[in-house]
Structure formats: structure tokens, C-alpha cells
Symmetry: C2
Subunit: 164 residues, 2 copies
Amino acid sequence: MKNISYSENITNKIMIEFSRTIQLFGLTSLEARLYAYLFLTNEARTLDEMGEALGKSKTAISTNIRSLLDLNLVTQVWKKGVRKDLYAANNQLFKAFMNFYLNKWIDATYHQKEALEETSKMIEQAKKDGAGNLTEFANLELGMHEILEFHEELEGMFKKMKQD
Amino acid sequence: MKNISYSENITNKIMIEFSRTIQLFGLTSLEARLYAYLFLTNEARTLDEMGEALGKSKTAISTNIRSLLDLNLVTQVWKKGVRKDLYAANNQLFKAFMNFYLNKWIDATYHQKEALEETSKMIEQAKKDGAGNLTEFANLELGMHEILEFHEELEGMFKKMKQD
DNA sequence: TTTTACGTACAGAATAAACTGTACGTAAAA
DNA sequence: TTTTACGTACAGTTTATTCTGTACGTAAAA
């Protein structure tokens, strides 16, 4: 059995708790643990180091670090003389997470609103063509209207939050 | 091949789009489709009806409707003469979803904050016991402080949102 | 009371997600 | 130029999640 220092033990405990919170933002378990590890040790790390520390394959680290990079939660760091890629946690916790999270929502609601508006046109067309029961269409249009409104409210709310 | 009406086809399209949005709130695919179905058809339904409509087993419907019930997204409806349980979508979209979502976050951040504070005490204790490297502890405490702050900011934000 | 129909617990099957190891293209080191 | 070491694509495996069918307790109907 490996001798694990007291502080390592505590670090572990914190990592587990912290990464649980991060998962609420929609990160997978490994993404979350990776971020927590980088944040807590507060140093730029190589893929190998992270794999070693979390007991995962280099491949797994590579793909998951890439996600974090895309979300701007992690930055690639350059250090002369070091050949391997180095990654560090963006350590402005609140700002970094809010940013990526709000963007995610704004993006998603926007796109879905578009898709729904497209479908809205199909209803119009179908009505013109007389291709079905009229009350059925009326009912559909009503629901559609509420759903679109819902998307607008969501998008509006998140956009407003982004400004603060 | 079953003859599918034009309006049924459109309904399906909307359901798929809408349920995609709902999944952003953390609902599973079936939970989302169930809600979308109930919302769009705008009628109280039995387990059998829903299973039939979505092509899923009664058991699956039962467990998933129960989740929606717990989240207050769906209500059980009573209709005299009808023996089967009836369920209807809570149709105040924005209000219903915001409510359950904010509660989820507030809950989670609160509990994790508590757990982290517990661990904070462990660091104190370890420092007293001289059970490790001092600078290591200082570093840990720094990270811990930022993480706790992060949790407070999150909790505060969501609580504030709830008031509006 | 007996029979029938309902909803759900639970074990196992199907599907999806996460992860590993190998293999390869690329760029730094020799 | 040749050799070495790096990061990632990809196929296959492992693990986790979702779903089904059967079986059972319960309450309404007969």
C-alpha cells in the first residue's frame, strides 16, 4: 500500500467535492476532476502528469483537456525548454464558469428558436394546403407560440445575466 | 406502413426540438419527451397512452413520470369515473422550469459548501498536529478559500434570481 | 368474496458513454 | 538525415445508464 500524505488526502477530498459542483455545469466526471486538479495544484501540467495523478490514460486526458480548452476553462501555457504541452486552469472561477455556461445556454436557445420558427412556417403552409383538421392546427399553433415565448424568455434572461 | 397525418408529423418535429431544450435543464431524453408530449397535446394522459404514443414500456413511463412529478413539472389529475392515474403538464413553462432549476442549484451549492467547510476544519486540525508541510497547507487553504467563495457567489446569484 | 385491472419493484437485456492501447503523423533532438 | 518523443485518431473494451418483461401488492369492479 502506497503511503499517502495527509495533505494529499485532503487535496483529494476537496477535489471530489469541488468536481461535484463543476459537474452541475454539465462537465463530465473526468473533465471536472481535471479542472479541479489543475486548479488546486495551481501549476501548469503535462498530459502525462495529469494522467498519472488521476490514474487515466493519456488519450483520455488529451480529449478531455481539449474540451476544457474549448470552454476556456483551461489555457495552454508555453515554457521555453519544455517540449510537452502544458495546461493550466483559468483561475477566475466565477467569471470563467459563468461565461462558458451562459454562452452555452444562449447558443442553444437561439438555435432551437430558429428551428422552431422553421417548423412554424410548416404549420402555416399546411393550413393553406388544407392538409388537415383546422382545430388541430389551431391547437398546435397555440402550443408553438408558448414554446417560442419560452425560448425568448430564456434567451433574454441569460443575455441579461451576461451583461452583469 | 402506418399512415401518419400531417399534423402528427409536425407535432413530432416540435416535440423533438422542444425536448432538446428541456434537456438543457438536466432532464433525460425520455423525461423531456414526456413533458413535451403532455404539453403539446394539452390533455391529461394515462401511463398507457403515453407509452403507446412514445413507444416505451409502461414501466419506463411510470418511473419517468414520477421524476417529473417530483420536479413539479407535471401534476396528477383526478377525473371521476376514470380508474387510471392521469397526468398533465404544468403549463406555465418559464415559471415551472425556473423554479425547479434554481432550487436544484441552490440545494446543490449549499450542500457542497457545507462539505467543503467540513474539510476546511480538517486542514486546521492537520496544521495544529503538524502533520505535514506548512507551505503545502498554506497553498491548500488558499485554494479552498477561493472555492468556498465561488460557491457563495453561485448560491447568492441563484437565490437572487429566485426572487425576481 | 372473487375477479380483474392498475401501478411499480426488481432482475436482466439493450443501448450509450467513457476509457484504453495501438498505431501513426509530426516536429524536435541527435 | 536519422532517431526519438509527443499528441491524437480510431477500434475495440469496459463501465454506466436506460429500458423491458415478469411478478406482485393493492384497490376497484363484479
